[in-house]
Symmetry: C2
């Protein structure tokens, strides 16, 4: 049994006309001899409409009840799409999270999939030609409805593909695939044909919002081949898959950026054992996501501690730390909201040196000052003044010849 | 454990303000020391909105998918109401049909309840103070969502009350209770304090649309005391319960009418064995509900056969029978759409004669001609010209002194 999973987002199912377009893609895959699992989101706007209702009813709406309510979004879109297919004589049915079942933990609003009933899915695939499955939702062990958090339908699709060992998990979206960088920022941005899971993870977390990051983690864990492609054309998109030699021969795959960052510096921190924990534990408790961290070499028993947080959390970060000023022992706190994070990503870096220095040189040539640097195995990240974001992206894109499908000189 | 079931319809939960009013009734019952099962319908208008969507998508929408879709109506109203209660610090949760579970057959759109998991319900009632349960919906043995048909929430409420052996099943509606006749038609109409199941069945089927008829059958079968009362006041309503001596001492309980009737006559039917079956079987196959049937005494081997059908089915009735004219053997078919059915209902009739003749005399005194008569143990029905409907209702209401809480002279 050849099985293909196809996931369509809210924009693709928002009205009858759009659903008819989606149907053509589904029917084609069916005609090619595949059993198809279609994973749908709620019609666009619906989830927000329901969340607004919840907010009207309560300033602290119960998370379990919110999940039961917002899950109706996919319930409606799946039923409608199944009606459309049935009208074409297709033997199909809608399948909700609790019906599959897609078992999750009980973290309402951000549940994690714990188990999918493969046997039941395969039985249904024996009986039906197409299953129209609700993305984003599951049911906990008490059979209460849960949701996987925003963008969770991607994760549903990948998890289902893993459960039934699908040939491919196609994620249809409003862009043609994953690009070397944001095409709105750089005219030379090029669609990437194949990208490794790890690269995709770095791209996604950096704001290349094509695929939800958890779905990529899932795909990596279960080795699911994901094909990100456009709902509005038949063109091939980007294949997200295991790292292979071709990928490794490419030095840099893409340039990502994130303008939603702020830089915080604690000046003249008492450099004593445990001070990092004193600073970052209270922030973790407040669920503030600290990203880059740099500690300057100590001088006279004092050091400067610099890190970045999402801009929305700046105020709370300052409040939290200033309340602990005496305890932690720092002289003052400064913050800078006008910063931007630029990352150079590529699995090729693992085996090749010189990427960082090439990047630094390229930025220096344009007089872009680097405020912070952090590096990992497959990524180099620089924090810069945010007014240089576009220039930096274009400069680096060009420096690494990303406009061409470049391979490293193996000589 | 004292358990009370309270059912509220779509109008009562249509917005935040209405839900707050409903909450007061629920909280009061809770404060009185009861565990409360609240059964809710969809917010008014929602079910129709969803059905319209289904019609837009398909001219023959799949019934199972329609059920999955329209069931979201209660899913939303229950989640919202539970949020409201939680905000008051009440330990409660929403419970959907599949979660209870309320098991039904697979007749999508008009499913019948086959089983309710009493043990699970009682466990939930041990844990929670209030359960907010979705009316109108259940799940079949494959766990697919079903709905019980229009007004099915009344049936859900009564079935749940039966399952947990509730003290009472309160059905909140937009009228203060069951009346001796339609108050819009007769100023003297009086609210009935107690009414027997059988009387209520006759009243309901005759268009006194306070309670869904199936819910009354259910209540009778499982001996559930139903209290029909107003959402908008605290006044006591009508108790629907087992027949008792007080009820039997009342000659007539109410006058019902039905203007949605048409009279069909087959003139000069060949009076041979099996002719009734020849006439009515084809109509039954077309799901046409034949109500009153009168066969005149045969003369020269021919008879006239008269019966009533709902007005909407007249055309199909005529078409069906005219196609069989030769086979059945009748001379011609006549129809009359300007008829109305008036019924006098009361369990007291079982033991007292003279009700029919009193009714005929009262109508005769007003020069109202009776077109057809049919009688049962607790009901006398007359078909009359529909322009006399109001007059007939008022005349009969007065003739049986229904404006007073009358009891029969036992002397």
């Amino acid at each position: 049994m050849n099985i293909v999973v196809q996931k369509f987002g809210g924009t693709s199912v928002r009205n009858l006309e759009c659903q008819r377009q989606v149907m053509q893609k589904v029917l084609r895959s069916h005609r090619e001899g595949n059993k198809v699992i279609v994973v749908l989101s709620a019609m666009s706007g619906e989830t927000n409409r329901l969340l607004a209702l919840a907010d009207e009813w309560s300033d602290t709406p119960d998370a379990a009840e919110v999940d039961s309510m917002v899950s109706t979004g996919e319930q409606v879109s799946c039923a409608l799409f199944a009606m459309l297919l049935k009208k074409q004589g297709i033997h199909c049915r809608s399948v909700l999270g609790f019906q599959a079942p897609i078992r999750t933990d009980s973290a309402f609003g951000k549940a994690r999939i714990t188990d999918i009933n493969t046997r039941h899915l395969l039985e249904m695939l024996e009986e039906y030609d197409i299953l129209v499955m609700a993305g984003f939702q599951g049911a906990d062990e008490n059979n209460r409805i849960t949701t996987l958090g925003r963008g969770g339908s991607d994760t549903s699709a990948v998890a289902l593909a893993a459960a039934v060992d699908a040939d491919v998990c196609e994620i249809y979206t409003d862009v043609p695939g994953v690009f070397t960088t944001d095409p709105n920022m750089c005219d030379d941005a090029r669609k990437i044909e194949r990208i490794a899971y790890d690269e995709m993870l770095e791209m996604a977390s950096m704001g290349a919002k094509v695929l939800q990051i958890r779905s990529v983690e899932f795909a990596k864990k279960y080795n699911v081949t994901v094909h990100v492609r456009s709902t509005f054309s038949d063109e091939l998109g980007t294949i997200v898959t295991q790292e292979d030699e071709t990928m490794e021969s490419v030095l840099v795959s893409g340039i990502a950026y994130d303008k939603d960052q702020a830089q915080i510096t604690l000046v003249h921190v008492q450099d004593k054992p445990g001070v990092s924990a004193q600073i970052f534990s209270p922030l973790a408790e407040k669920k503030i996501l600290v990203d880059m961290i740099v500690q300057n070499p100590s001088k006279d028993g004092k050091t400067d501690m610099t890190f970045t947080v999402p801009r929305a959390d700046v105020e709370q970060t300052i409040k939290t730390l200033e309340a602990l000023q005496y305890e932690i022992g720092f002289e003052k706190l400064t913050s800078n909201l006008n910063v931007s994070k630029i990352s150079i990503i590529g699995v090729g870096m693992r085996n090749h040196s010189g990427v960082a220095s090439l990047a630094f040189q390229a930025l220096a040539d344009e007089n872009i000052n680097i405020l912070m640097i952090s590096t990992s195995e497959i990524k180099v990240t620089c924090l810069i003044d945010d007014k240089y974001t576009e220039l930096a992206v274009r400069t680096l894109h060009k420096a690494f010849h990303l406009e061409e499908a470049e391979t490293i000189d193996q000589s």
